[in-house]
Subunit: 277 residues, 2 copies
């Protein structure tokens, strides 16, 4: 098992009776962020609990994850419940809890997932991939010993909107563009696509060149791919773009897009982020 | 009570013990759509159940509503539950049900709401309001007897991306721009802002000039305003913009922005929509 990919280790869920949708897992040191797990890993776990459920219908369409509290290092419980199954769509609620003081569960995360049995239809994009240099020509982000663990799990090559080299409170536009894939090769799946939708550092840091406290409160990701489109990517790069929209009294939103290297828009994602000052 | 605004009638919720967060209401004929209520009205009801709860902390930041099934005309139950209260944020889950066959509740809608006690901070926009003609110079959308009821509740003045006059399968860009307010004057509040985030007709109709079956599956709205910003709008116009992003095998997403006439971005919203063919 020593060759298991760190992401698969982070996603590993145990169950006693899978049909009730109750799973247990443990936070991964490989995807640790400052004061809790990387939110993208938590989002992936919420999605994974649904995808592993024997009752799941089709593939994911929409995922919303609300980060109610940082998970503490250690074990957690996941409850995935299919609350409505239609002919071609299915609605799930997910809650991640940890044992709290006095044994009462501590609610850390709520999520909703919509899955669907897709059919082939007319398809089109109104959001073309931006112009980009080839991945090999862009310098890889080096994280170094001061970095947080989860950043080491991704190969990121930013060609616009890099994290400010100086926190000099100069004002910038809040857009970043990068090439992105797992640092250790792993074929793209819905869980990793969900996680990669959350790799973009808080736009407020870029916008203000100021390292204020910030953390995602809620993220929503829409999936625009089936298994065939993910298989086409395999272990290849995604092109990611993220930009802030509105910064207002302690919260801002940022929107993100992830394309395959061939230009297919695979996921669109939005999040609202707390910030201080 | 005959002077009560139709939106306030649609939002009216009764409760026996408000602290348990259980409310009852009834669908409004004024906001009826083709096969169920206007989704914006349902989203507003989900939000309203939280805002009416005596335990609510602050004002809404994020709202996700999943339309699991169309509500039938008549009574419904709403359960709003605060699952986590932090120092400055609060996380809610909401479920709307109707009595089903054999008395088992029929899950029609799930939602999550995040509220927060905002503090004044540095604020800025990276999404300026588009250029627009004055509202008075733009023709008002006339709905007529063939229209669906909820459209009559809004004054909409489109100046780009009107609903195609001919379903001739010609291809268009999927962006619409309009001035928007309640047809019957009503000061803007969070509930009406939530509803207005869903007024944009399915982008697939515009994109394809083809009237295919389509319906919102899930909508997420972020609020970028406090009571003072809403009061500044009062009964004035909002500028709305919506555009499709990716259309893929039966589902597409559209993103929407709502600015005050003075140019403040009050809400950003995204939805994923089912479509046929």
């Amino acid at each position: 098992m020593s060759t298991q990919h760190p992401f698969d280790k982070a996603l590993a869920l145990q169950h006693s009776d899978i049909r009730v949708g109750h799973f247990t897992g443990a936070t991964s040191p490989d995807y640790w962020n400052m004061v809790g797990p990387f939110g993208g890993a938590t989002a992936a776990i919420a999605l994974q609990s649904v995808m592993q459920h024997p009752d799941v219908l089709g593939t994911p369409i929409a995922l919303t994850v609300n980060f109610a509290a940082a998970l503490e290092a250690g074990a957690f419980d996941v409850q995935a419940t299919a609350v409505r199954t239609n002919r071609s769509t299915q609605h799930w609620t997910v809650q991640i809890t940890q044992p709290g003081a006095g044994g009462a569960p501590n609610m850390t995360t709520t999520a909703t997932v919509v899955t669907a049995a897709r059919r082939e239809t007319w398809s089109q994009s109104d959001m073309p991939m931006p112009e980009a240099p080839r991945p090999g020509t862009v310098e890889r982000l080096s994280v170094g010993p001061a970095g947080v663990a989860w950043l080491d799990q991704y190969e990121m090559r930013l060609f616009g909107g890099s994290i400010p080299a100086k926190w000099d409170a100069s004002l910038h536009h809040s857009e970043s563009r990068l090439w992105l894939r797992d640092a250790q090769a792993r074929p793209l799946d819905f869980a990793s696509l969900a996680a990669m939708s959350d790799v973009f550092y808080p736009r407020v840091w870029l916008r203000r060149a100021k390292h204020v406290p910030a953390g995602t409160v809620s993220i929503t990701t829409y999936f625009h791919a089936g298994p065939a489109q993910l298989a086409e990517v395999g272990t290849g790069y995604l092109l990611g773009r993220a930009v802030g929209q509105q910064f207002f009294n302690g919260f801002f939103d940022q929107t993100a897009h992830l394309w395959s290297e061939q230009g297919a828009l695979l996921a669109t994602s939005n999040q609202i982020v707390y910030y201080k000052e």
